[in-house]
Symmetry: C2
């Protein structure tokens, strides 16, 4: 093991580490009082994400409190549709609202020619973080996967049945492919920009990977992700890419085998013992404590975390949650969990 290598990067490169490195999805966010105070300084959430002073500070807040092994850029997956020219708003309480793009005619209104220019503030945030982070803390950049970003772009926000986005994909697969291709290209530009600015690992969030039948999963989840991974690896072979196909169920293994990702994030429902047998021989795994366990805390939280660590001790493992931290999480529970994880040791 390279003695100077950050523990998160060691694990993502497939090494068993002395303890599993840890970070938490949504470790920056509304459950922290200092975040709520900071958030009040910008009007819109998009402005907040695109103001480096604020995004840097939001990213650093949980690092100061919990000393996790990684920081993840504070941003949102929907800055990409915004950079393509789609109208994106965040309403308090109701989630994101987008001017829906539902067909090839709508696609004509999008413009992928200035992703770098429009997202330059994100590059600035990443480079300032790279300079300011404590030495041992790795910096993770991220983007939404094309399928998941497309669900918001086509549905115009969140959805229960995904009838609009699947409807387009089923009715007119070639037209929908054009949207996905545009997203692949823009995502590659956006992630290369993050790597150039100092991101040391990348996570691709595919929050809605689990709603597709198998053939469509391969076309709209696996293939676009594989294209992004190939493009990133061609330029930056040493930057690990973590894929998070939430809800993929028994298609997790196909996702790992067919996308070329370097590590895989497990959602809460994936049995760690199954992941140890089926996935960990292929790639390092990351996950997967139920975020509600961090709301309830106490012995139950430590016991559940310990079961995950034990089940995945035979290979490379990054400890994380199975989904993002919940706004009602008591920060002291995150402090306690971080102490617990910091105290773990296993034979190297």
């Amino acid at each position: 093991m390279n003695r100077n290598e950050k523990i998160l990067l060691s694990a993502l490169r497939g090494r068993r580490t002395m303890r599993p490195p840890f970070w938490y999805m949504r470790q920056a966010g509304r459950y922290l009082p200092e975040y709520r105070e900071l958030r009040a300084r910008a009007d819109g959430f998009l402005d907040f994400c695109l103001t480096p002073d604020l995004a840097v500070e939001a990213t650093l807040q949980p690092i100061r409190r919990f000393a996790p092994d990684a920081a993840i850029l504070f941003s949102d997956i929907l800055v990409l549709p915004w950079a393509l020219g789609q109208e994106v708003r965040f309403e308090e309480g109701t989630g994101p609202l987008l001017e829906a793009v539902t067909d090839t005619a709508g696609l004509a209104g999008l413009d992928g020619s200035d992703v770098e220019g429009r997202l330059a503030p994100v590059a600035e945030t990443v480079s300032r973080l790279a300079a300011e982070l404590p030495e041992a803390v790795a910096l993770i950049g991220f983007a939404g996967a094309p399928w998941t970003v497309a669900t918001y772009m086509v549905e115009g926000g969140g959805s229960r049945d995904f009838a609009a986005v699947k409807g387009w994909a089923y009715r007119d697969p070639d037209g929908f492919q054009a949207l996905i291709d545009l997203l692949v290209q823009a995502t590659v530009i956006y992630l290369r920009m993050q790597v150039a600015a100092g991101a040391e690992a990348i996570q691709i969030f595919d929050t809605w990977a689990g709603v597709l039948p198998e053939a469509d999963f391969r076309r709209w989840v696996v293939a676009p992700t594989a294209a992004i991974v190939a493009a990133l690896k061609a330029e930056s072979p040493r930057v690990p890419v973590i894929g998070f196909p939430r809800g993929a169920g028994m298609l997790y293994e196909a996702y790992v085998r067919e996308t070329g990702i370097d590590a895989v994030g497990l959602d809460t429902a994936v049995p760690p013992s199954w992941a140890a047998a089926a996935l960990q021989p292929l790639v390092p795994v990351q996950g997967n404590l139920d975020p509600v366990r961090v709301v309830t805390g106490s012995d139950g939280m430590f016991a559940a975390a310990g079961r995950i660590v034990d089940a995945l001790a035979g290979g490379a493992h990054v400890f994380n949650l199975g989904h993002g931290l919940i706004p009602t999480t008591p920060p002291e529970n995150v402090t306690a969990l971080s102490g617990f994880l910091r105290g773990l040791k296993k034979s190297p």
Copy 2:
């Protein structure tokens, strides 16, 4: 094969049938103009479910239009909390709203002593349907699984993160167990009543089975379902019970092996080829066309349905959707799909 046995029951008893029998989850509902007309005759949705004249007619409407191989009782899984004394309302557009029960103190306000009395109208609906249905059409009764019903009872409605119900289960598993036990008892009473009134098969809907980690899945999904199945089988060994643990992912197999259910419903994301190898040797399987395929219709619908039928042709299969029909479904697409399924033949 018993020549007089209904094709649905043959398949649910493990026999390969000449063609897969079919029915559709939410085959009665808002996508049908005659349903919307009928629905307008009752004020509240609960009143609608509990008025036998209306519930019988709603159940029969899709039978007349599509001649599926089964009718499913028109009702809602939330009649059970209502029968336990919880306040339940259905608001147009926002889904169900319940007076949330979040702890042991709240449990004291529930009363399981008159489930049969309060749900007597459902028994009347079932017995009238048993008399009125065409000879070849099987009658399916149903209930929500305790875990899924509990999510609505504790969250007070739908949820995104299930923080309230999981919070109770994690913080106070013994207290939450008391709620689950009450639901198991009430569900057994309710389903026995349906069988006594003429239901020939039962489906247990566990819509939110997929949000739990493995250990909690075993305790809150598998164990209560196993208890219900055992109680039903003790009295009515010939009535098949279909379990539908939506989203269970790689825990589908444990669910099948450990609950004792007679058949299993597959959600849209389950690969049929995987189900053919892992589940179909154990029990008949039911599913799993994406309901959005019935919205888009056309060649893509037939091709997707054909792939499922082919993949599951080696064993007992009931054709269905992977989730309920969507309100925007054109009824003529259901007509076309039903014709397609009716025309299938395979060597017996």
